[in-house]
Amino acid sequence: MSATLSKGINSFKEMIDAPVASFFSSCVHCGLCAEACLFYTETGDPKYTPIHKLEPLRRVWQQEYTLLGKLGKLLGLSKPVTDAELEEWKPLVYDSCTMCSRCAMVCPVGNDMTYMIRKMREGMAASGHAPKDLIGASTRSVEIGSPMGIRLPAVKAQMKHVQDDTGIDIPLDRVGSEYMVLMSSMEIINFPEYLAAIARIMKQAGKTWTLCSEAFEATNSGIQIGASDIAKVLVQRVVDGAEKLKVKTVISPECGHAFTALRWEGPNLIGRAYTFEVQHILEVLDEFRSAGLLKTTGFEEARLTFHDPCQIVRRGGLLAQPRNLLNMVAKNFVDTADRGKMNWCCGGGGGVSAIEEAEPLRLQAFKVKKAQLEETGAKTLVTACANCRIVLEEGLEHYHMNIPVMGLTELIAEHLTEGE
């Protein structure tokens, strides 16, 4: 068994639906999407125009689903999509699209390019044109349980560290808990402060929660590479774990695409509704805040700004929550000029941060973020996605900017009123 071109083309045909058809037929070629894309604005190269990244998919739509296109194909007037072409498009569909959806916000006819890139990646993956790093991550996710190859013992080791540091018991596989907490590999390896923050916040709020030994990983490489069959396997693990532990709510961690995978794509992938709710950690924290369960003392004095993770804010709809929470603990919170649903992407979403050969382009695109930060004069950068965080840290280091980046959950936890 192997990936083949015909599998890829078949996948394109399978993926094209009414929205895709209406998007392609209503595109007016105005080019506004280019101006909204950081890969275009920072390189000036028109090949990074978002709608252009979809050209092979558009041709398949035209040849298979339109009258003139069918005629053209019959008469040999339109050239078929080839392996060479898909290979040429690989850097456009993967390396230079973070699926951030900023282009969809400016499209005057309402085309959702991200929706189509997600679908196009299905055909790219099925035809063997996915980047090798994403193939590796997907393989580790399915075979080991995490894209970074983390197994349960590593999680347990971190639990023990956090337990020692905070003196709070970290529950594992506790049936009937209200919340089941997931983590991204990035948080397990690089940012243990997230788990510590959760433990302290849950303790103050008086909520029961648990980790799950069979489903601790929230990320979903299947979504990034564009293979629904693989994405489904990974979502199913979380669903099985949550249903086994009979939890009310699964908390998606500070990770962008994990939220998209679990909250929006998940039920469609497994073909049924969940028996539990999925909330992003910021939604949970904001609920705690308005219920008076989140008590903080003191304020951050430094000027700080917020990087809106695209999948959580623009595509996830959590616009007010991060700002409500920030204003609880920060005196000098300043927003960037483009903020909320129009904020610029960190440049590493949608799997881009995992693709090694995309790094030079990603660092070039980071210039837009750099300019944004310089304009605010912020001394600290807060975000709510571990992937954004690592990409931002790398970008800041590359451009020799001394601005610390922190997670919002962790920032809230630092200001918790404790000892009650």
Binding site: M1, S2, A3, E14, E64, A125, A130, S138, T139, I225
Partner: protein, 371 residues
């Protein structure tokens, strides 16, 4: 306006005449620059044009008026102040013009015959008004039918300018049911270059521009498919309308006295024909650049287009059907729906086949075997 013909007091060239009337060379050059811009000529042509016009012997012009209302003549002569345009007009040799000439009867016709004879092959013939093909008695001058006078005078003309929509396309006299059998100049004269300057009435500067082009280059400007100078009739009123941004935003006046109308929104829904009318009103404007119909709150009626009078109600929006019958539309809808169903059915089977052909993608199948 035009004085009687007295060669001994009139200057020999246009340039001398302008000087006599106190027009400085600088003013004249400015005027020529404006004309070159409007004629879409390269800027360097301004001085060439100035030279050519200044040196030109006074061009002999014969102006024939047929079934018309004199509006075209009014347009060019009744500018509210003496403009350079009508000064230039003064300085051509307008050898025959019913309305403006002092002579009458035999003497007038004599002047026409004399001009035709003296300038054979070189004079410019300007025509306003349409020509009745029914009873010749509908319109005749000095006992000569309009048709015969046109044919006779066109014979020795260098070129013909059909001024106004009546001369260019038949205009209002030709409107349904066309009782006089009115036709345009081009319907009768086939062997001479004809420049149509339509409009009801046409813009004065367009007439002057055409004349200036003729004097400078000795030929006619580039014309569109309806015989109009492209430089003035290249864009629609809509494309150049200052209310266009409201159209683009979907902001329309619904009545002539609503809030939207007072705010100056687009008059499309009130029947403005700007989108299908080619003319220069929106750029050159009227009355010394003061305004034009849309600016004063009324939609364009499309007066520079053929058959404008019969092109549907003036106050009905362009997008409303004027002729298609209900049954025709119904049949078209059914045919369209049937085609839609057929294509949908075919597309669904294409997609169903693709779904059936789906082979599960596992991590082992993300790479090519041959690699």
């Amino acid at each position: 306006m035009k004085k009687s013909r007295q060669p001994e007091v009139l200057p020999g060239t246009v340039g001398e005449g302008l000087k006599q009337r106190g027009v400085t060379r600088r003013e004249f050059l400015k005027f020529c620059s404006a004309l070159t811009v409007m004629l879409a000529l390269p800027p360097a042509m301004a001085s060439v044009m100035a030279e050519a016009i200044s040196k030109a012997r006074r061009q002999s012009v014969i102006w024939l008026s047929f079934q018309e209302c004199t509006g075209c003549t009014e347009s060019i002569t009744r500018s509210h102040s003496p403009t350079l345009e009508n000064l230039i007009f003064d300085l051509i040799s307008l050898d025959y013009h019913h309305t403006l000439q002092a002579a009458s009867g035999e003497a007038a016709e004599q002047a026409r015959m004399q001009a035709m004879k003296d300038n054979e092959g070189n004079y410019l013939l300007i025509v306003d008004g349409s020509i009745p093909m029914g009873n010749p008695g509908y319109s005749c001058i000095a006992g000569i039918s309009n048709h015969d006078m046109l044919v006779e005078t066109a014979k020795g003309a260098a070129a013909i300018v059909a001024v106004g929509t009546c001369a260019a396309y038949g205009g209002i006299p030709k409107a349904d049911p066309n009782p006089t059998g009115a036709v345009s100049v081009a319907d009768i004269v086939k062997d001479k270059p004809i420049i149509n300057v339509p409009g009801c009435p046409p813009i004065p500067v367009v007439m002057t521009g055409v004349l200036a082009h003729f004097l400078t280059f000795g030929g006619i400007p580039e014309l569109d498919s309806l015989g109009r100078p492209k430089s003035f009739f290249g864009d629609t009123i809509h494309d150049r309308c200052y209310r266009r941004p409201f159209y683009d935003q979907g902001k329309f006046a619904e009545t002539f006295d609503d809030e939207a109308a007072r705010n100056g929104w687009c008059l499309f829904k009130l029947g403005c024909k700007g989108p299908v009318t080619y003319n220069a009103c929106a750029t050159t404007k009227w009355n010394d650049g003061t305004s034009f119909p849309i600016q004063s709150g009324h939609g364009c009626i499309g007066c520079s287009e053929p058959n404008f009078w019969d092109a549907g109600p003036l106050y009905q929006a362009l997008s409303m059907p004027v002729s298609a019958t209900g049954s025709l539309l119904g049949a078209a809808a059914i045919a369209g729906a049937a085609a839609g169903v057929a294509i949908t059915w075919h597309n669904r089977s294409t997609k169903a086949a693709a779904k059936a052909a789906h082979e599960k993608v596992t991590v082992q199948e993300l790479t090519r075997e041959e690699k």
